[in-house]
């Protein structure tokens, strides 16, 4: 019962000193609002990266050359032959090189990639204009080219004018069959993801490179949970075929999109932690602010404390009252800070590219932390108040 009374004393004491209360609440509000906003930005970024990676059509495993001309069609055939349980779905072969593209008076340097016929399906690409290559184009190694939307507008007056036109790659003229649709999102790479050119792999090998080289292979899986098994089939086959005993000496590399996901989420996790650290420092500053205000309040109220002692207040009641005051300040600061942080996160999501996701664990943590700050930073002033000698306190002016 007396706890309720002391709680009311704390409440009315805060109410009767609105100015001081406002200032100390403000410190915590700012701290908590920034924690929530920063954590929301961190979490949001993490989530959007994850969803972007999964939209890339994950589950694929890339196998690529570490040294030139080592990865061959035979390697791929043996890998496929070793896949007894049918894990592999599609196999996309690619070889690319950087080339100068010339169309009329316009020219640019872009990545030209020779691909196998399943390119559209594996890479999840669509044509905006014209068409992709025919099976015949792949079989005969025709001089045909499909370009990204940026490449089209760089070389021609407009994307639609590109269809049927000729582009000179190196010394050879290619006919444009189609323009790809713009890629969605994709803010992850530094270069423009829509500036590229695609030609049949056979054309690439025969006309541009003059070798049977394959730079990389992408395997898609029938079951995306079998990434590890697929990697071991590829890895053991390649090590055996290339007579390599030590994995460190491998002349090929493997990469699964899920690996990227893990790497990226650990990076964004670090970023979130960093943001939380910065926000935590602002909370700490807020907490020390609270302590200062509480100490001021103890000094200012020395007489009141002395009086309460004269009227029979025992130390524990005074400690309790001052702690209640501190916790009330930090808890309400935490609650207001949460609302502000939530509002700020919504605004950020609404008006910027970043998605700021406020999650419940962050909210609970922020309010828990703010209350704990009240306890930790309130205890010193509270004890100081309770230990004041009653006469000294009454004597003070």
């Amino acid at each position: 019962m007396i706890l309720i009374e002391i709680f009311q004393e704390a409440l009315s004491s805060l109410w009767q000193n609105k100015g001081r209360t406002f200032l100390s609440v403000l410190g915590i509000v700012i701290g908590i609002a920034s924690v929530i906003t920063m954590m929301a930005i961190g979490r949001g970024t993490q989530e959007s990266i994850a969803s972007e990676i999964s939209s890339l059509g994950t589950g694929g495993i890339s196998l690529f050359n570490r040294s030139t001309q080592k990865l061959t069609q035979d390697d791929i055939d043996v890998i496929m032959a070793n896949d007894y349980s049918g894990i592999f779905d599609q196999v996309l072969l690619e070889t690319n090189s950087s080339q100068t593209l010339v169309a009329g008076s316009e020219s640019e340097t872009a990545s030209v990639t020779g691909v196998s016929a399943n390119y559209l399906e594996v890479e999840n690409k669509k044509m905006a204009l014209g068409s992709f290559f025919s099976d015949e184009d792949f079989a005969l190694g025709q001089r045909v080219i499909a370009i990204g939307p940026t490449t089209a507008t760089n070389l021609f007056a407009s994307a639609s004018e590109a269809i049927g036109q000729r582009i000179k790659v190196g010394t050879i003229y290619f006919t444009v069959t189609g323009v790809f649709a713009e890629s969605s999102g994709g803010g992850m790479s530094f270069s423009d993801p829509d500036d590229f050119a695609i030609i049949p792999l056979s054309t690439m090998q025969n006309e541009l490179l003059g070798s049977r080289e394959i730079a990389s292979v992408t395997f898609t899986l029938t079951d995306e949970t079998k990434v590890a098994q697929a990697k071991s089939i590829i890895g053991y086959t390649m090590l055996a075929r290339h007579n390599i005993e030590n994995v460190d000496d491998a002349d090929f590399g493997m990469f699964a999109a899920t690996d990227l996901l893990e790497t990226l989420s650990s990076v964004t996790g670090m970023m979130t932690a960093l943001l939380a650290g910065i926000a935590g420092i602002s909370l700490l500053v807020g907490g020390i602010g609270i302590m200062n205000v509480m100490l001021m309040s103890v000094l200012e109220r020395t007489r009141e404390i002395g009086l309460r002692k004269a009227l029979g207040a025992q130390q524990r009641y005074l400690i309790t009252q001052f702690l209640f005051e501190a916790i009330l300040v930090t808890f309400s600061g935490g609650a207001i800070g949460f609302l502000l942080g939530w509002g700020a996160s919504s605004l950020i999501t609404h008006f910027s590219q970043i998605t700021a996701a406020v999650t419940w664990d962050v909210v609970l943590m922020a309010i828990g932390i703010s209350t704990a700050i009240g306890l930790i930073f309130g205890i010193y002033p509270a004890r100081k108040a309770a230990k004041l000698a009653p006469i000294e306190a009454l004597r003070s002016e």
């Binding site: 002692k309 009227l311 207040a313 009653p390 009454l394």
Partner: protein, 304 residues
């Protein structure tokens, strides 16, 4: 109880019987319950008979409701402050007792140790040596928290500077000791209303303390001092901060408390006019008691 204290008690009884006889002699009612009747009675007499009566009253050092019970017992009380400037002996062996129902004033010039004594009597401070027994308990045996409880339950304080919580209402101020005394809310409120009525501030219950005049504030403080039905009310220069036109009103409440409610009151003052309201005056000078006897009532009626 040892033999000596039994003897003491029987002596006190004799003394009390004597007091009653004195009052009978001056043809006063046996139950002089109120100050008003005392005043009316004394005013109705000629100066000569009054002086005569006073000299008779003077033989009794106690007021009309004084009981057998000892509330304050102080023996060889010494208080020494230890500061940078060396030690200061403020109280140098003080001895006196106060019985239940007495109205005592402690007088003395500024710096004579009155407040120091009052702080010890109010267990706000502890003596350097000597005995202090409050309502039968030796305060030496008590811990800090127990002393706080003793202050709350046994002592009502009235300070020179009122010491109300400015932003609380009159009623809240009066109820404050009841919180620490763990009186249930309803009961506390009822009691506070009753006490506010006693000091005639019924119509000010919900005013903030800071909105009141000094005299009114001190009346609130008096009401507050009674919240826990204390054994004694201690007042340190209760009229020191008041304009003269408000002193009499405040002091009359102390008289009322003593006469009508039988409260034991110890009032500290350096003004003889204030002391004249009491029945017994202890004069303190340089930390020793130089006089302990009946109060000089003349001054009171001269200034009235």
């Amino acid at each position: 109880m040892d033999e000596k204290s039994v003897k003491n008690t029987s002596e006190k009884n004799k003394q009390l019987n004597n007091n009653v006889q004195v009052y009978d002699q001056v043809n006063c009612q046996k139950d002089l319950a109120t100050h008003r009747t005392l005043c009316a009675y004394q005013k109705s007499m000629t100066t000569d008979t009054m002086l005569a009566a006073d000299s008779k009253v003077a033989r009794s050092s106690f007021g009309p409701q004084v009981k057998d019970k000892v509330v304050i017992e102080v023996k060889d009380l010494v208080k020494t402050y230890y500061g940078q400037a060396g030690e200061t002996r403020v109280l140098k062996g003080i001895n006196f007792t106060v019985h239940e129902g007495e109205f005592v004033s402690i007088m003395g010039p500024s710096g004579s140790g009155k407040s120091t004594l009052m702080h010890i009597l109010g267990v706000l401070d502890t003596p350097t040596s000597g005995l202090y027994r409050l309502d039968g308990i030796d305060i030496k045996d008590y811990s800090e928290d127990e002393l706080a409880a003793v202050r709350g339950r046994k002592i009502g304080f009235v300070f020179q500077a009122f010491n109300l919580l400015a932003q609380k209402t009159v009623l809240e101020n009066v109820m404050l000791p009841g919180i620490y005394g763990k009186i249930p809310m309803r009961q506390r409120q009822d009691k506070a209303r009753e006490l506010v009525g006693l000091v005639r501030l019924d119509n000010r219950c919900d005013h903030l303390a800071c909105q009141l005049s000094g005299g009114q504030q001190q009346r609130v403080a008096i009401a507050r001092s009674l919240m826990m039905d204390p054994a004694i009310v201690l007042a340190d220069e209760p009229t020191g901060n008041l304009p003269t036109d408000q002193t009499d009103e405040v002091l009359s409440f102390f008289t009322k408390l003593n006469r009508e409610h039988g409260k034991t009151i110890v009032i500290i003052t350096h003004e003889p006019a204030v002391a004249s309201y009491s029945d017994r005056t202890i004069v303190l000078r340089d930390g020793v008691i130089t006089k302990d006897g009946p109060a000089n009532k003349d001054i009171h009626y001269d200034t009235n």
